[in-house]
Subunit: 555 residues, 2 copies
């Protein structure tokens, strides 16, 4: 056990799509020097995380071993890779490395929280490399749905690891570097121990399509439109935003960018030089003087987010602009599973306005940013690793991707969050299981997923809430009767009397027959009152609410 | 305005998929005699209706005019058509007509609530007719994904209406009557004023496929399986359940039906004679003695419902049966939008067990129960109505279906819930807008959607809850300090002090500087304390919780 070893430990992103966080380590067991690749967020939902603002991987393990951490590397600027970089900075305080565009976005996040922007350091593309303890790391350009996505070439004394980041194989990505098979092949040539690889699209059987394919289709669509055209996509898909803007410009339309994220991304692209050409844009105010058949709006909110421009336009006027009968609304995007209801709500609101909606169902106006199964097979062959470790996927994706690797004659290993793999031996072995989980940003406070805070909120959402108040006099006898306040519960139950009256009556009956032992003991009394209130409610309304008992004693 | 008229008024189902409820009327304006077609439910979700058990159309308008209501007709036994028949019975108390299978299911619902089963009357298929005031109603057999679905042929002095119910055109539906174009044509021959028509699949461009097409594919799949086979579909899709069971039996497997709904539906099918042939089934207990490669389970929970058999099997053992590596799990079903996350959760749990999952993505193991666009066009032509009124669809479906009708040279009218159409004149006109909405079954209590009960629950889920308690003495001065209890909020805020301490301190400061005018006035004091608590929480945790203020006065 005293030999140095190379380890891989996903803390987030392996067993889910979202909140990526991967640790690599090299050194003597338990003393490995570490790097963190990506520290992203996931988004909350009402089912499991009501009221939560952001979610990221629980980095307790990393915090406990922070003296061993050398640096943080960010592959690209999608929220699920960079979103928690500022929220976790205080706990890690290590240099953060990224390519220029990603660094630009990361610095904005640092600035928003009043953190030092210079913690983020810009790295040029491969063959430039960064030294971080025993690691030598280079950023290999890959195409994806955001500028300057990178795979990481991680050289260690235990061999080379290629961490793919999110990627696709695009010979013509509209913005950024084209897929370069020779470059990838050269990285593989010197021998690769493990390819840690994006699994998102492993179930897509056909080769992925190029970003450049959607342009002509979108142009045709816009050219044929007779009213205002509105198109939505992810703001970070700068290539798509450019394609949409150019389609508008070619059709003689003035282009308006709507939504904060849209403007911020274009700004970052301009600042970092990844976007040199972009049609002229006008402001929403200027747009109001232009006939609607000469307008093209490119807007945020492709996932139906309630506050984004798409949802606002579907509901009514937004920044002086309003949709009308005969306008065209294009979703140049895919709906992420879980967002269907929100997107469909918007489509129906647009339908009520007489707006024609075109979505991704034809496959003509959107292409994915991830590598499909044949692309994955091609990359396995080019990088030629001994081991393939699928990441960036739910369990079903990881399992399938491992099968693809095995079918190609390589070792494929499924390692979910918390699984520490030792990659030093002939075959990877599980070295440890580390406690992992999720951290919630709730308002301005970081809360652990298992703290019970959110569980209690879900219970109140399902069952409503009762406050029971009793005052006990100096002799520990009830002073007056108990009373109840309800929230989120029907006022009248099956007996047709007010629910609070029924509860108060039952609680009073209980107090009248209770002995001093119960009445003097706060815990015992509280528990009993809670039980009575819940039983009484169950009988009256068929539901057991959450109960807060407040006992005030005059003694 | 004194001429008798024929009216159509959807209360639910027009502008949404779910909770169908359609009213037809004939007579002098405001004195029309009425019938209700279907009274179904929709299901709750955490986003909009946490803790709600069932949802149906607000029938206030019908209740106010209940003396004019003649009868209720149920087209088929899907929950979104029959689900609220018992819950609303006390308010309507009219005869309920349905075909045998549907009536069987409706009677079970009546019995569950202790209501008279004989309120439900069985009607034979067309040409049998029921007289209900000025209406003569016949049940025309249609194929769908449940036995004995019916279109209603509604004859009135104002002309014939065909209310399609849910349907597809299936020449070989496995269970029940095949599509009979001659019969449909004969119904149209005598002239049809309006076709009120299912719009669910209007966006599906190809002709619908027959239920009989999935059998051979499923047989091939089951025959090739090496471990246990588990298949899930809607329990009410009796034809599919039979197809699955036969595929199992042909592959030499013993068939087990798992899930209460599955057994209930097969039972109802047997009782009413719609299912005469069904392979022998064994109990879960018997199955434990049979090798897993000789077993075929047919289970509930195709939509990922947490308590259904699919979810239970994905989590672990269920009724003594457990999935293992190499087993096959088939979703012979479509995932309804909004249920993706739950279904995907199950697929990942199965993946963790090493179970291979086959879903609907290939299109081989499931066909829809609704008519696609070309089928709708065919039915328009066969029934040959003057007016097509799309129903059973979201707004986008209704609008598209109306377009299809217009393209066929007919009048197509979009009428959403609450729109009363007068169908008497040359063209349909909007006669009135009726207040509509949703009624919630919450535990055992019926709650109006706008009562605020659910809104308050959602607020607690998003923002947490604080109870503020103050006791005022005989002179209206605070007796001691105020105190706070929190639920669903972090215990420690940004100042690192306990949140309740910070809140109590701020509330105490406020009380100390308040004048008698505030301290004596309950409303004023409550409002002020709530405001302080919310502001204090906002500063401390970045969130404004819901607040219950309890003021106890000693005077």
């Amino acid at each position: 056990m005293s030999r140095e070893r190379l380890i891989y430990l996903p803390l987030g992103g392996a067993g889910e799509i979202g909140m990526n966080a991967y640790v690599y380590g090299y050194g003597l067991p338990g003393k490995e020097r570490l790097i963190l690749v990506d520290i992203g967020v996931a988004f909350s939902d009402m089912d499991t995380t009501p009221g939560v603002d952001l979610i990221w991987a629980d980095i307790s393990w990393l915090r406990e071993n922070v003296d061993r951490l050398e640096a943080v590397f960010i592959t690209h600027a999608h929220e699920d890779h960079v979103g928690a970089v500022a929220h976790t900075y205080d706990q890690l305080r290590k240099p953060i490395y990224a390519r220029a565009f990603t660094a630009n976005i990361a610095r904005r996040k640092m600035a928003e929280l009043g953190l030092p922007e210079d913690a983020v350091q810009t790295v040029s593309a491969w063959p430039e490399q960064v030294q971080a303890g025993p690691f030598t790391v280079g950023f290999l350009p890959v195409s994806h749905s955001i500028p300057e996505s990178a795979a990481l070439v991680i050289d260690t004394p235990g061999g080379r690891i290629v961490h793919s980041g999110d990627f696709k194989l695009d010979p013509n990505p509209v913005v950024g570097e084209a897929f370069d098979p020779e470059l990838w092949g050269s990285v593989g040539k010197s021998g690769v121990r493990a390819l840690v690889c994006d699994s998102t699209n492993v179930f897509s059987p056909n080769p992925g399509r190029s970003e450049s394919e959607v342009g002509p289709e979108i142009e045709k669509l816009v050219a044929g439109a007779t009213g205002m055209v509105v198109a939505t996509t992810f703001a970070s898909n700068v290539a798509r935003v450019r394609t949409l803007a150019e389609a508008g410009a070619r059709a003689g339309r003035s282009v308006v960018l709507l939504g904060r994220a849209m403007r911020r991304m274009i700004e970052a692209s301009m600042e970092t030089g990844v976007l040199s050409e972009f049609p002229p844009v006008i402001s929403p105010e200027e747009a109001q003087d232009i006939p609607r058949d000469h307008l093209m709006l490119i807007v945020t909110g492709s996932q139906g987010e309630r506050r984004a421009a798409s949802a606002q336009l579907a509901r009514g006027k937004y920044r002086g602009l309003e949709l009308a009968e005969g306008d065209l609304f294009l979703f140049s995007s895919k709906t992420i599973p879980g967002n269907e209801k929100e997107v469909i709500r918007i489509i129906n609101q647009l339908s009520e306005k007489g707006v024609d909606v075109v979505d991704d169902s034809s496959g003509r106006y959107h292409v994915s940013g991830h590598a499909n199964r044949p692309d994955l097979e091609r990359v396995h062959a080019l990088i030629d690793p001994q081991i393939v470790i699928p990441m960036h996927g739910e369990h079903r994706h990881l399992r399938e991707h491992a099968r693809v690797a095995e079918a190609g004659g390589r070792q494929g290993v499924v390692a979910v969050n918390g699984t520490m793999l030792d990659l030093s031996g002939n075959a990877p072995v599980v070295a440890a299981h580390v406690e992992t989980g999720r951290t919630y940003l709730d308002g301005t406070v970081q809360v652990g997923a298992l703290d019970g805070v959110i569980r209690n909120r879900i219970r109140m959402a399902l069952n409503g809430h009762v406050t029971v108040t009793v005052i006990m006099d100096e002799e520990d006898e009830p002073l007056g009767e108990p009373w109840c306040d309800i929230i989120g519960l029907p006022e009248i139950g099956t007996s047709k009397a007010p629910l609070v009256d029924v509860l108060e009556e039952d609680l009073n009956q209980f107090l009248m027959r209770s002995n001093q032992k119960t009445l003097r003991d706060d815990d015992r009394l509280e528990e009993a009152l809670r039980r009575i209130a819940r039983q009484s409610a169950q009988t009256e309304i068929g539901k057991k609410p959450e109960v807060t008992v407040v006992i005030s004693r005059m003694r």
